[in-house]
Subunit: 196 residues, 2 copies
Amino acid sequence: MPDPVFLPLRNAISRFIKLNDADWQLLEPSLREKKLPKQSHFITEGKVEQEVGFLLDGNMRHYYTRDGEEKTTYFYFEGHFVSSYLSAITNTPSELTIEAMTDCRLIVFHYKDLQKLYDVSHTWERFGRLIAEYLAIGLEQRMVGLLMLSPEERYLDLLDGNKQKIIERIPQHYVSSYLGITPVSLSRIRARLLKK
Amino acid sequence: MPDPVFLPLRNAISRFIKLNDADWQLLEPSLREKKLPKQSHFITEGKVEQEVGFLLDGNMRHYYTRDGEEKTTYFYFEGHFVSSYLSAITNTPSELTIEAMTDCRLIVFHYKDLQKLYDVSHTWERFGRLIAEYLAIGLEQRMVGLLMLSPEERYLDLLDGNKQKIIERIPQHYVSSYLGITPVSLSRIRARLLKK
DNA sequence: GCGGGACGTTAACTTAAGATAAGAAATCGG
DNA sequence: CCGATTTCTTATCTTAAGTTAACGTCCCGC
């Protein structure tokens, strides 16, 4: 008896692998729905965090703390997988915090449940590979942007690419953090661009 | 009849997965030894590059070209896997070039051969996952460094971390590129640090 | 061993980002 | 709807990186 609440997750996974009913039924018992109020933490720095989420509604940010300052390095939107990948994989305390920027609704499961599927199912192992590859490709491109583009170019990149929603819904001082600059600097870049 | 030339690769793979003889024999027929003279290209921008290498000897750099300028973003040493991961995975032309900085000796195989193993062997599929995870973790840390640390801090990071060999053997103008700054700027940072 | 090229440093100048502070604008909670 | 907080902009000053160019050194090939 498949629960329709979980369907968006099944569809998202199906974009990575061909998933039959039997495969899906391996995972479904591990799923739960979870609601997070605005400003609460999905992942907290210092804790070993093994929970993986799939965001149905709302958005979240992912930040590191240094000298008391928060550096926001990633945003999550509907349809994204959310986790402290490093903490889940390595079973070590998370160095990052993931905070709900709005009220959020997620489907969650424990990474250990997925790891069990890795052992028993080649299909799920493949899913794990494809997710990791997807992640690596995104990170590589992000890194190249940081190394090769100026702050202004990185901001322009955000404006047209498919990442446009980042700027639409996100307060500017978080965006500036994502770009690796200060809020003041982003404001100046925007002012410069308007004159052109 | 296992060829001892390929042993270092088998050992490297064994650090990721438990590999029995049968598993290994699936891969071995696809392996070749390859020598690259200094300054030749292992991967060339614009070509679809599906070759994966395992570096036995020598070192290589990985760079992107922009406005005629080369930006070196990665270095490879003995025991590293070398490939244009993105080009191999997505079967699209490589955006980067990988050049031998010294005479190099590698074990190479085609990524398609590995992909065939993904289909027939859960063990090799797992290897693919673990490699991708390893890569993603490294990229995440690199990205965080670029976002959170100043150029000077990034340079100091290079000095103590396990990445020390990067500075030992690599010309400074490549290192500066890796750090995301100009050679002149790196020279100044070094001069500043000496005074302290 | 000589000439040329690659590499690193230094200097002078330009440009842009960081820090701090103040004020305007928008948002939120009651 | 109002007051308080958050967010964004603007301005000033400081600091450091980019650019260009000159110079010295080292290394390599011929």
